[in-house]
Symmetry: C2
Subunit: 110 residues, 2 copies
DNA sequence: GTTACTATCAACCATATGGTTTAGTATTTC
DNA sequence: GAAATACTAAACCATATGGTTGATAGTAAC
Protein backbone atom coordinates (compact mmCIF):
# COMPACT_ATOMS: atom_id res chain seq x y z
CA UNK A 1 0.00 0.00 0.00
CA UNK A 2 1.42 3.32 -1.10
CA UNK A 3 0.60 6.60 0.57
CA UNK A 4 0.73 10.09 -0.91
CA UNK A 5 1.01 13.35 1.01
CA UNK A 6 -2.02 14.71 -0.86
CA UNK A 7 -5.36 13.22 0.14
CA UNK A 8 -6.85 10.74 -2.26
CA UNK A 9 -9.78 12.92 -3.32
CA UNK A 10 -7.30 15.59 -4.44
CA UNK A 11 -5.67 12.99 -6.66
CA UNK A 12 -9.02 11.92 -8.11
CA UNK A 13 -10.08 15.51 -8.65
CA UNK A 14 -6.83 16.22 -10.49
CA UNK A 15 -7.46 13.20 -12.71
CA UNK A 16 -11.09 14.12 -13.31
CA UNK A 17 -10.29 16.51 -16.12
CA UNK A 18 -9.74 15.30 -19.71
CA UNK A 19 -6.96 17.80 -20.38
CA UNK A 20 -5.02 16.69 -17.35
CA UNK A 21 -5.59 13.03 -18.15
CA UNK A 22 -3.97 13.60 -21.53
CA UNK A 23 -1.06 15.33 -19.84
CA UNK A 24 -0.57 12.29 -17.64
CA UNK A 25 -0.66 10.02 -20.68
CA UNK A 26 1.90 12.18 -22.44
CA UNK A 27 4.11 12.22 -19.35
CA UNK A 28 3.95 8.46 -19.11
CA UNK A 29 6.11 8.42 -22.23
CA UNK A 30 8.83 10.46 -20.60
CA UNK A 31 9.81 13.87 -19.25
CA UNK A 32 8.09 16.87 -20.79
CA UNK A 33 8.41 20.64 -20.47
CA UNK A 34 5.37 22.86 -19.95
CA UNK A 35 5.67 23.87 -23.60
CA UNK A 36 5.77 20.24 -24.73
CA UNK A 37 2.54 19.62 -22.84
CA UNK A 38 0.78 22.81 -23.92
CA UNK A 39 1.44 22.44 -27.64
CA UNK A 40 -0.62 19.34 -28.56
CA UNK A 41 -3.45 20.61 -26.36
CA UNK A 42 -3.68 23.90 -28.24
CA UNK A 43 -3.51 25.82 -25.01
CA UNK A 44 -1.58 28.82 -23.74
CA UNK A 45 1.48 28.24 -21.59
CA UNK A 46 -0.29 29.93 -18.71
CA UNK A 47 -3.21 27.54 -19.01
CA UNK A 48 -0.98 24.50 -19.14
CA UNK A 49 1.03 25.82 -16.21
CA UNK A 50 -2.12 26.00 -14.10
CA UNK A 51 -3.04 22.41 -14.94
CA UNK A 52 0.47 21.28 -14.08
CA UNK A 53 0.09 23.10 -10.79
CA UNK A 54 -3.01 21.06 -9.97
CA UNK A 55 -1.26 17.81 -10.87
CA UNK A 56 1.79 18.80 -8.84
CA UNK A 57 -0.31 19.65 -5.79
CA UNK A 58 -1.97 16.27 -6.07
CA UNK A 59 1.49 14.71 -5.99
CA UNK A 60 1.12 13.29 -9.49
CA UNK A 61 4.27 14.91 -10.86
CA UNK A 62 7.32 16.97 -10.02
CA UNK A 63 8.44 20.14 -11.76
CA UNK A 64 12.16 20.76 -11.98
CA UNK A 65 13.74 23.98 -13.16
CA UNK A 66 16.28 23.30 -15.87
CA UNK A 67 17.62 26.41 -17.55
CA UNK A 68 14.65 28.46 -18.57
CA UNK A 69 12.45 25.39 -18.93
CA UNK A 70 10.54 23.39 -16.35
CA UNK A 71 10.81 19.66 -16.77
CA UNK A 72 7.85 17.62 -15.54
CA UNK A 73 8.23 14.03 -14.45
CA UNK A 74 5.45 11.64 -13.43
CA UNK A 75 5.44 10.49 -9.83
CA UNK A 76 4.01 6.97 -9.63
CA UNK A 77 3.23 7.16 -5.90
CA UNK A 78 0.03 9.17 -6.26
CA UNK A 79 -1.21 7.01 -9.12
CA UNK A 80 -0.48 3.93 -7.05
CA UNK A 81 -2.44 5.38 -4.14
CA UNK A 82 -5.40 5.90 -6.48
CA UNK A 83 -5.00 2.36 -7.78
CA UNK A 84 -4.95 0.98 -4.24
CA UNK A 85 -8.05 2.92 -3.27
CA UNK A 86 -10.05 1.79 -6.29
CA UNK A 87 -8.76 -1.72 -5.83
CA UNK A 88 -9.88 -1.74 -2.22
CA UNK A 89 -13.41 -0.55 -2.88
CA UNK A 90 -13.94 -2.54 -6.05
CA UNK A 91 -13.03 -5.67 -4.17
CA UNK A 92 -15.96 -5.17 -1.80
CA UNK A 93 -18.01 -7.77 -3.61
CA UNK A 94 -15.30 -10.42 -3.40
CA UNK A 95 -14.83 -9.54 0.24
CA UNK A 96 -18.50 -10.11 0.90
CA UNK A 97 -18.38 -13.42 -0.93
CA UNK A 98 -15.32 -14.33 1.12
CA UNK A 99 -17.20 -13.45 4.30
CA UNK A 100 -20.14 -15.54 3.13
CA UNK A 101 -17.81 -18.44 2.44
CA UNK A 102 -16.29 -18.13 5.87
CA UNK A 103 -19.71 -18.02 7.51
CA UNK A 104 -20.80 -21.15 5.67
CA UNK A 105 -17.62 -22.97 6.52
CA UNK A 106 -18.04 -22.05 10.17
CA UNK A 107 -21.59 -23.36 10.09
CA UNK A 108 -20.37 -26.63 8.58
CA UNK A 109 -17.88 -27.03 11.42
CA UNK A 110 -20.59 -27.00 14.07
CA UNK B 1 -9.41 -5.02 -18.49
CA UNK B 2 -12.87 -3.76 -17.61
CA UNK B 3 -14.70 -1.10 -19.55
CA UNK B 4 -17.41 1.24 -18.34
CA UNK B 5 -19.93 3.08 -20.48
CA UNK B 6 -18.94 6.38 -18.85
CA UNK B 7 -15.56 7.76 -19.85
CA UNK B 8 -12.79 7.40 -17.33
CA UNK B 9 -12.46 11.11 -16.56
CA UNK B 10 -16.14 11.14 -15.55
CA UNK B 11 -15.40 8.37 -13.08
CA UNK B 12 -12.41 10.26 -11.67
CA UNK B 13 -14.37 13.49 -11.45
CA UNK B 14 -17.14 11.69 -9.56
CA UNK B 15 -14.57 10.31 -7.12
CA UNK B 16 -12.83 13.67 -6.73
CA UNK B 17 -15.21 14.89 -4.10
CA UNK B 18 -14.81 13.98 -0.41
CA UNK B 19 -18.55 13.65 0.16
CA UNK B 20 -18.93 11.22 -2.70
CA UNK B 21 -15.88 9.25 -1.63
CA UNK B 22 -17.50 8.73 1.75
CA UNK B 23 -20.68 7.61 0.04
CA UNK B 24 -18.70 5.02 -1.89
CA UNK B 25 -17.06 3.82 1.31
CA UNK B 26 -20.44 3.53 2.99
CA UNK B 27 -21.86 1.68 -0.01
CA UNK B 28 -18.96 -0.75 0.04
CA UNK B 29 -20.48 -2.11 3.24
CA UNK B 30 -23.78 -2.88 1.56
CA UNK B 31 -26.90 -1.44 0.00
CA UNK B 32 -28.02 1.97 1.23
CA UNK B 33 -31.01 4.23 0.63
CA UNK B 34 -30.58 7.92 -0.16
CA UNK B 35 -31.63 8.68 3.39
CA UNK B 36 -29.05 6.27 4.79
CA UNK B 37 -26.35 8.07 2.84
CA UNK B 38 -27.54 11.60 3.61
CA UNK B 39 -27.86 11.17 7.36
CA UNK B 40 -24.21 10.68 8.45
CA UNK B 41 -23.16 13.44 6.03
CA UNK B 42 -25.50 15.98 7.66
CA UNK B 43 -26.93 16.86 4.28
CA UNK B 44 -30.42 17.36 2.87
CA UNK B 45 -31.98 14.52 0.90
CA UNK B 46 -31.94 16.70 -2.21
CA UNK B 47 -28.22 17.29 -1.85
CA UNK B 48 -27.47 13.61 -1.37
CA UNK B 49 -29.71 12.76 -4.31
CA UNK B 50 -27.67 15.03 -6.55
CA UNK B 51 -24.41 13.40 -5.47
CA UNK B 52 -25.91 9.97 -6.09
CA UNK B 53 -26.89 11.19 -9.54
CA UNK B 54 -23.28 12.07 -10.31
CA UNK B 55 -22.07 8.67 -9.09
CA UNK B 56 -24.81 6.92 -11.06
CA UNK B 57 -23.91 8.80 -14.26
CA UNK B 58 -20.30 7.78 -13.78
CA UNK B 59 -21.47 4.19 -13.61
CA UNK B 60 -20.30 3.79 -10.03
CA UNK B 61 -23.66 2.66 -8.66
CA UNK B 62 -27.22 1.72 -9.53
CA UNK B 63 -30.36 3.15 -8.02
CA UNK B 64 -33.36 0.84 -7.66
CA UNK B 65 -36.84 1.91 -6.67
CA UNK B 66 -38.10 -0.18 -3.80
CA UNK B 67 -41.33 1.02 -2.25
CA UNK B 68 -40.90 4.69 -1.51
CA UNK B 69 -37.17 4.30 -1.08
CA UNK B 70 -34.34 4.12 -3.62
CA UNK B 71 -31.76 1.50 -2.88
CA UNK B 72 -28.22 2.21 -4.09
CA UNK B 73 -25.80 -0.57 -4.87
CA UNK B 74 -22.14 -0.19 -5.80
CA UNK B 75 -21.18 -1.23 -9.30
CA UNK B 76 -17.59 -2.54 -9.31
CA UNK B 77 -17.08 -2.14 -13.07
CA UNK B 78 -16.41 1.59 -12.98
CA UNK B 79 -14.08 1.29 -10.01
CA UNK B 80 -12.22 -1.47 -11.80
CA UNK B 81 -11.87 0.71 -14.89
CA UNK B 82 -10.34 3.42 -12.69
CA UNK B 83 -8.05 0.87 -11.12
CA UNK B 84 -6.93 -0.37 -14.53
CA UNK B 85 -6.23 3.14 -15.77
CA UNK B 86 -4.17 4.11 -12.74
CA UNK B 87 -2.44 0.75 -12.87
CA UNK B 88 -1.52 1.28 -16.50
CA UNK B 89 -0.06 4.75 -16.05
CA UNK B 90 1.64 4.06 -12.74
CA UNK B 91 3.41 1.14 -14.37
CA UNK B 92 5.13 3.47 -16.84
CA UNK B 93 8.38 3.27 -14.93
CA UNK B 94 8.40 -0.54 -14.94
CA UNK B 95 7.52 -0.46 -18.62
CA UNK B 96 10.49 1.74 -19.34
CA UNK B 97 12.76 -0.51 -17.31
CA UNK B 98 11.38 -3.46 -19.25
CA UNK B 99 12.13 -1.68 -22.50
CA UNK B 100 15.63 -0.91 -21.28
CA UNK B 101 16.09 -4.57 -20.37
CA UNK B 102 14.92 -5.62 -23.80
CA UNK B 103 17.26 -3.16 -25.49
CA UNK B 104 20.21 -4.44 -23.48
CA UNK B 105 19.34 -8.05 -24.20
CA UNK B 106 19.08 -7.28 -27.89
CA UNK B 107 22.49 -5.63 -27.76
CA UNK B 108 23.93 -8.72 -26.07
CA UNK B 109 22.56 -10.90 -28.84
CA UNK B 110 24.50 -9.04 -31.52
C1' DG C 1 -58.96 9.44 2.76
C1' DT C 2 -55.67 11.91 5.32
C1' DT C 3 -51.28 12.18 7.07
C1' DA C 4 -46.46 11.11 7.17
C1' DC C 5 -42.34 9.61 4.70
C1' DT C 6 -38.86 9.27 0.90
C1' DA C 7 -37.14 11.12 -2.81
C1' DT C 8 -36.90 14.15 -6.99
C1' DC C 9 -37.26 18.59 -9.52
C1' DA C 10 -36.57 23.42 -10.23
C1' DA C 11 -34.90 27.60 -8.95
C1' DC C 12 -31.52 29.88 -6.82
C1' DC C 13 -26.96 31.25 -4.66
C1' DA C 14 -21.97 31.38 -3.49
C1' DT C 15 -17.83 29.65 -4.74
C1' DA C 16 -14.65 26.82 -7.61
C1' DT C 17 -12.82 25.80 -12.07
C1' DG C 18 -10.87 26.26 -16.70
C1' DG C 19 -9.60 29.25 -19.60
C1' DT C 20 -7.82 33.78 -21.42
C1' DT C 21 -4.89 38.21 -21.60
C1' DT C 22 -1.38 41.21 -20.01
C1' DA C 23 2.65 42.01 -17.55
C1' DG C 24 6.80 40.51 -15.42
C1' DT C 25 11.04 37.39 -14.32
C1' DA C 26 14.74 34.34 -15.52
C1' DT C 27 17.47 32.48 -18.94
C1' DT C 28 19.52 31.92 -23.40
C1' DT C 29 21.20 33.68 -27.72
C1' DC C 30 23.03 37.01 -30.69
C1' DG D 1 23.50 44.75 -23.76
C1' DA D 2 19.37 43.70 -26.64
C1' DA D 3 16.19 40.50 -28.23
C1' DA D 4 13.99 36.21 -27.98
C1' DT D 5 12.33 32.21 -25.21
C1' DA D 6 9.98 29.69 -21.35
C1' DC D 7 7.44 30.21 -17.80
C1' DT D 8 4.70 32.31 -13.79
C1' DA D 9 1.48 35.66 -11.58
C1' DA D 10 -2.52 38.34 -11.42
C1' DA D 11 -6.69 39.91 -12.98
C1' DC D 12 -10.55 38.75 -15.20
C1' DC D 13 -14.58 36.13 -17.32
C1' DA D 14 -17.94 32.42 -18.34
C1' DT D 15 -19.49 28.31 -16.80
C1' DA D 16 -19.63 24.32 -13.58
C1' DT D 17 -20.27 22.65 -8.99
C1' DG D 18 -22.08 21.92 -4.32
C1' DG D 19 -25.25 23.23 -1.64
C1' DT D 20 -29.83 25.11 -0.11
C1' DT D 21 -35.13 25.86 -0.08
C1' DG D 22 -39.80 25.04 -1.62
C1' DA D 23 -42.98 22.50 -4.32
C1' DT D 24 -44.43 18.10 -6.07
C1' DA D 25 -45.11 12.90 -6.66
C1' DG D 26 -45.41 8.36 -5.15
C1' DT D 27 -45.80 5.12 -1.35
C1' DA D 28 -46.95 3.62 3.44
C1' DA D 29 -49.49 3.85 7.60
C1' DC D 30 -53.37 4.90 10.15
Amino acid sequence: MVDSNASIDTVFRALGEPTRLRMIQELSRGERTIGDLAEPLDMTLAGASKHIGVLEQAGLLTREKRGRERVCRLRPEALLAARDWTQKYSAFWNDRLDALDAAIREQDDE
